[in-house]
């Protein structure tokens, strides 16, 4: 009876050991005002934390005993395309039914709409756990998160119409990508026109690569301003499948996440509702949608890394060569240790990001009800910036780590890993998309680089450096301080060159240096609180990234405007 929450003490640690958590609970529960109206609402801090723990225990139970056991079959069967509709793999319905029966929908939504009012941090943990069992199923289930955007920007009528349905288990999708608009969403051409006669908006055109494209409720990015060509002509719409008008033309045949249907959609005069204000679709709403989705992919990636660690460890203990278990060979042990170190470091970054998101989102929500105090406004501003700066780090780094961990997991399995019998090949295939969708790692770098050049990461790093660590970890902290100094020096040098191309080509290196230093400090904090759980990973991780940072240091400091010539391929 596996439980993917209680079997993994690191998740519970991340949930319970941050000084930010009491503030999150306080903001989210508004002085525990719901307790008299809703029997399930917590009465105080301890009660809320206990409920979070119990909710995740149920997620862990369902993941261990339903989702993970179905994963292989779902991967093999995949979804079916029938008469313009999607039929999931048969066991996907079993997974969905278990999640619905457990009531695990609308997790972050307020109780008045039928939600569970859980912090983003708890929802993120649930995402991670489900992904460890089956990353493809996690896609379908976690698209419930789109409701957050409808909640933030839709009107009260739309909230009352749609949120309870999502809380009751209806699925969602975000229809953004088109054949000629992938990373460049400004080029979206799906046409939205106002039908004066019927008094509603209509959609015409097509979309591609839409995850869970046959969902019940779609958020659609479409061009409402005829004659425009850029992002300012785009608005966001809600399409309700009950109204009809959108068909699935085909389901993509993919390398991984087979359980998750990726659809090409055709809109034929489909009735829809405008969500929020015209022309704000891309500029404001999709940005918010994407930030939520990026945190989701970061969680999915950590879940995959956990799965890679589980499989690699079990195999290395079990497999014997040359008369002993291969885990005893240093070459294998190093790979294993690095998987665990990247997992723990990436997870620390994930939850730190989730906590930052929680605080600003909760304050933003309070601001809908009353005027914030000047202190609260300051706090919201600060945490919005932290969340914006950390989200691309968490998404980019964890997705790259998931790929590396999946690769190493297969390597540890040797020839057996290349065969399709072991779970490691599914993990490896499923991980591959994480560094691509919701913005490639290259685009995460673009989103993050301004915080490198404007010194924001450096200022956060300085704050982290000021936090005390356990005496036994002081030597490690000194090393991280040196890494930070290298990051600062490289940043200064790249800025001083005042050359955009040099800046762009060095961006990824500076991005990784910042992330390496931040994750090192976060792991040091974890190890200070629980050395038994994180001491080893802190040692291994810092040993690993000290060398990484030096690599980036060398690369960027040697790069110059003459050398760039060699990289021009166009």
């Amino acid at each position: 009876m596996a439980n993917f929450y209680s079997d993994i003490p690191e998740i519970k640690f991340e949930l319970e050991n941050s000084p930010l958590m009491p503030r999150i609970v306080e903001l989210k529960e508004r002085g525990f005002a719901d307790k008299d109206q809703y029997a399930e609402a917590p009465q105080d801090q301890a009660d809320a934390m206990d409920s979070y723990d119990k909710v995740l225990d149920i997620v862990g139970d369902i993941t261990g005993n339903v989702i993970a056991t179905n994963a292989e079959e779902v991967d093999a069967e995949g979804p079916h395309h029938e008469n313009g509709r999607v039929r999931y793999a048969s066991k996907t319905y079993e997974n969905l039914e278990a999640m619905n029966k457990a009531g695990l929908n609308g997790m972050t939504m307020p109780r008045r709409y039928g939600g569970l009012n859980l912090p983003v941090t708890v929802y993120t943990a649930a995402n991670e756990i489900v992904s460890t069992g089956d990353a493809g199923f996690e896609n379908i289930w976690s698209l419930q998160d789109c409701i957050e955007t409808l909640y933030c920007f839709g009107n009260e009528e739309q909230r009352q119409k749609y949120i309870p349905r999502v809380c009751a288990g209806e699925t969602m999708s975000m229809d953004l990508t088109e054949p000629d608009a992938g990373s460049d969403l400004q080029s979206v051409m799906l046409k939205a026109t106002y039908d004066e006669e019927a008094g509603c908006w209509r959609l015409n055109g097509s979309k591609r690569f839409i995850t869970n494209g046959d969902s019940d409720i779609h958020l659609v990015l479409a061009r409402s301003e005829a004659g425009t060509r850029d992002g300012r002509g785009l608005s966001m719409f809600i399409y309700d499948k009950r109204d009809g008008g959108v068909d699935v033309r085909r389901i993509e045949n993919k390398l991984g996440i087979h359980g998750s249907p990726t659809c090409e959609l055709v809109y034929k005069n489909a009735k829809c509702e405008l969500c929020g204000d015209r022309k704000m679709g891309l500029i404001k709403y999709v940005m918010s949608l994407m930030n939520g989705a990026r945190l989701g992919i970061a969680a999915q990636s950590v879940g995959l890394s956990q799965a890679a660690w589980n499989e690699a460890l079990a195999y290395a203990r079990d497999r014997k060569q040359f008369g002993k278990a291969i885990i005893e060979f240093p070459a294998v042990a190093e790979m294993l240790s690095n998987i665990k170190a990247r997992l723990d470091a990436g997870r620390a970054l994930l939850y730190q990001t989730a906590r930052y998101v929680d605080i600003y989102k909760a304050l933003e929500d309070i601001a809908r009800e009353r005027k914030l105090t000047p202190e609260e406004r300051q706090e919201m501003k600060r945490f919005t910036k932290l969340a914006d700066a950390f989200t691309p780090l968490a998404k980019g780094m964890n997705s790259e780590y998931a790929n590396q961990n999946g690769y190493d997991c297969i390597q540890i399995h040797g020839g057996s890993g290349f065969m399709l019998e072991y779970a490691c090949q599914r993990i490896y295939r499923d991980a591959r998309i994480t560094s691509i969708y919701e913005g490639t790692t290259q685009l995460q770098t673009v989103a993050a680089i301004r915080y490198v050049t404007n010194g924001f990461y450096a200022s956060v790093i300085e704050e982290y450096a000021a936090q005390p660590v356990a005496p036994s970890l002081e030597p490690l902290k000194t090393i991280v301080g040196e890494m930070a100094a290298k990051f600062n020096a490289c940043t200064a040098a790249v800025k001083a060159a005042e050359n955009q191309e040099l800046h762009d080509i060095c961006a990824r290196h500076l991005y990784e240096m910042a992330a390496d230093v931040i994750m090192s400090y976060l792991l040091l904090q974890n190890a200070t609180r629980d050395e038994a759980l994180f001491g080893r990973s802190a040692q291994v991780y810092i040993h690993l990234v000290e060398a990484e940072v030096e690599k980036h240091n060398l690369w960027t400091s040697r790069m110059n405007t003459t050398l760039i010539e060699n990289y021009r391929q166009a």
Partner: protein, 295 residues
Amino acid sequence: MNLKIVVLAKQVPDTRNVGPDAMTPEGTVNRSALPAIFNPEDLNALEQALRLKDQNPGSTVIVITMGPGRAAEVIREAMYRGADGGYLLTDRAFAGADTLATSYALATAIKHVMPDADLIIGGRQAIDGDTAQVGPQVAEKLGLNQITYTEEVLSCQEGVITVKRHIDGGVETVESPLPCVLTVNGSAAPCRPRNVRRVMKFKRALCPMELPKDTTWADLPYAQDYENRPYLKLGQLTCADVDADLSQCGLAGSPTKVKNVENIVFKAKESKVLTGSDEDVNGLIQELLASHTIG
């Protein structure tokens, strides 16, 4: 129709993952070494009850379990999944009961808490005793029809229940008028998971037995809850509460006497070691032919 359903459930040691210290030197189950769980087939039974409740809104599902204070966990677990409430049947006088005394106690309790029950549903058997006797004996004691080895309830309307039951080599479909007793097979639908909202709502539910010594409800944390939310006080019944005849309860009412428990260790009494040589193989074939094992 509104159904009234009693689910019989038992807390059992998890005998599916037995370690070396699972048995005491005296040959009894070492309960402290095994985690206490909801008897697996009773979960299948609960699922059948909850499905009937889903199909017949307004129906009531209560759980009755017999055991010490900690067995109240079974009631909470059932409520997390959808049961409306439950009763812990607990008394020193019930201790040491065999299946006859257990079914007497359960039948007496059912008559007391839900005399007009339409259905009484339990698991086929518990994984600690494996007798499969309690369900049928409860039916006999209440004078009701019984359907054992239930695989699935096909329909339940106008006072008639139709059930697919598991039999050797296949299934059969049978009907019975209500009220009746069902025992459910492990191959029936697995029980639904705990519901998060219900867990948050019922997590502080307690039986009076579970209160620490010399404490009252008013002394507990969140005491006002027990005042305002009566469902947090779980039912508890003693021998006297259900007017049970003491001579039919517990050890006194149990004709089954355990004479002796032996550890059985399988040992090869006679064995031969053969090599792969032609001579040994031929010898073995001759021997097996001679004993008519082959040929």
